[in-house]
Amino acid sequence: MQCIIVDDEAAARTILKKLASNNENLEVQAEFSNALQAIKHLNQHEVELIFLDIHMPDFTGFDFIQTIKNPPKIILSTSDRNFAIEAFEYDCIVDYIVKPITQERFDKAIKKALSFTPKDEKDTSSEKVDTNIKESGNDLYVNIDRRLIKIDIPSIYLIEARGDYILIKTSGKNYTVHSTMKKIEEKLPENLFLKIHRSFIINVDKIIDIEDNSVLIEKDVIPVSRSNRPELMKRLNLL
């Protein structure tokens, strides 16, 4: 695999080059002390794997990932364990290795990179996303305060947009998550959930009654937008 190293610390780059030289599957194409230089390189060269430091001044590793189009496989290298959960949010991230890195840990990460298929290639339709959720036992994991919290999908009755956050309501508990309606909509089974307003997604099974342009679900009265009403009516088993 052709790889590059992006780390502002020369000692870290020296160590990564040494570790890479001991692994027959890797060839280090170039090394960069800042993300902007690396972006220029990526525009001109084909790279299969990036070793990326998260903690760089001015432009973090996560900023870097968000900037590049079609990112290749990425192995994060950092002295900070606290970002591990955030790393799960990026499909291109293969592994997360904490400095000081040993050869054994490094080789393990490369093994993962060799067999890694980005999620985009695995899941090409929303139908497949649904299947994955079902296979994982109808669970949805959300990132709250750097913890991944499991939510039982059928127990969700309402999702409400709250600016940069979404409020997920279940029968037992509510969760405020930094995410978008679009992202969560993709993760929910279409046969169970329906967007009835730009700010509300409901679990159709949990509807108590519908009156004019609103739905009573648990104790919440939710507006139904005119454009979403026909789809809601189609989903109901009307007598």
Partner: protein, 108 residues
């Protein structure tokens, strides 16, 4: 300070490659004094956030020089600085670590 800087990680990494050991030590000799200077400058102007960034970088050097217990001191010091707190005890302990590392790389 209980523990002393050592070559355990560098030796493990090099697998006996003396050129690499020297190369890595050269880099540490070059980078560490600059990082320490940045750290002190940022503390002097009460820029604790930047000082925390400096400790973060130095933290890796601490692990390269095999200082496992000191690494935790650096983590705590970094966390405090990022929260805008300069803990006197951690500051002193971190100073001892910096002094020990500086002496070690000068002799290495």
């Amino acid at each position: 300070m209980e523990e002393k800087p050592n070559y355990s990680y560098i030796s493990q990494l090099s697998g006996g490659d003396k050129d690499f050991e020297e190369q890595l030590l050269d880099v540490v000799r070059l980078e560490l004094p600059q990082e320490i200077e940045n750290y002190k400058n940022h503390l002097e102007i009460d820029n604790f956030m930047r000082a925390g960034d400096d400790v973060h970088k130095i933290k890796h050097k601490i692990s390269i020089l095999g200082l496992e217990k000191s690494y935790q001191v650096a983590i705590d010091h970094e966390d405090n600085l990022r929260e805008g707190v300069l803990d006197d005890d951690l500051y002193k302990r971190f100073e001892e670590i910096l002094n020990a590392m500086t002496k070690f790389i000068e002799k290495a």
